[in-house]
């Protein structure tokens, strides 16, 4: 697989954007309903990233960095290891 799967790229963007929304909300108006809605969205995106990274790459590097909170998806997507084989195509 030469590129990260589309689902991983989408999950990585959602992970990063939802975290940004949470932090901006926290630093500005701190509207609780927004936190309680975006919080689970971010949590889902994080877990999607970890699962998709494990499924789509046999690279230990990609799998380990996918665990990094907030940035894991983006770092896994940008990783240069997307040239190796795919254990189970997503």
């Amino acid at each position: 697989m030469t590129v990260p799967p589309r689902a991983l790229r989408i999950a990585a963007v959602v992970e990063l954007v939802s975290l940004a929304v949470l932090l901006v909300n926290l630093a500005t108006v701190h509207w609780p309903p927004l936190s309680s809605l975006i919080g689970p969205v971010h949590g889902c995106a994080y877990l999607f990233v970890v699962v998709l990274a494990f499924r789509s790459s046999s690279s230990t590097r990609v799998r380990v960095i996918s665990w990094i909170p907030g940035l894991g998806g983006a770092l896994a997507t940008w990783s240069r290891v997307w040239t190796g084989g795919s254990r189970c195509p997503a």
């Binding site: 609780p32 309903p33 309680s36 809605l37 919080g39 689970p40 949590g43 889902c44 877990l47 999607f48 699962v51 998709l52 499924r55 189970c88």
Partner: protein, 141 residues
């Protein structure tokens, strides 16, 4: 906001767990055929694999809902969480790998696959009943 979280939780449970329960049960039946249809087996495995991933939404939004309702420490919920974890374990460690093995040409007993699918479905049935009955809860039906 809790109502929205609960709606997402229930919707995700219906959409994600339903197909996995059905496809996981159909897989051994399709395998038992005299000449198993490889395309059908592949589709059933794909349904199980993809919707198992979508199923991540269910516990995440479930925890958020429970947190909003202030019931995170209730016994019925803790038991449900444990059973959900067990169901996820059965799916991720037994059902999906054995289906993958079948597609790779390894011989796997259909009865074993059926048993795993049955355990998965039973665990989810118990969790669903716990979610509705909520033993010990003051707000139940």
């Amino acid at each position: 906001m809790t109502k929205l979280l609960l709606s997402v939780h229930v919707l995700a449970a219906v959409i994600a767990i339903g197909p996995v329960a059905v496809a996981a049960s159909m897989f051994p039946a399709a395998l038992r055929a005299a000449t198993p249809d490889q395309a059908a087996l592949r589709v059933l495995h794909r349904i199980c694999r993809v919707y198992a991933g979508v199923g991540i939404v269910v516990p995440v939004f479930g925890l958020a809902t429970a947190s909003g309702l202030g019931v995170l420490g209730d016994a019925w919920l803790l038991v449900s969480i444990a059973l959900t974890a067990a169901a996820a374990g059965v799916l991720g460690l037994l059902v999906l790998p054995r289906q993958r093995a079948v597609l790779a040409g390894v011989r796997v007993e259909p009865s074993r696959l059926a048993a795993h699918a049955g355990v998965f479905n039973l665990l989810w049935a118990v969790v669903t009943v716990l979610m509705i009955v909520r033993p010990g809860s003051m707000t139940g039906v």
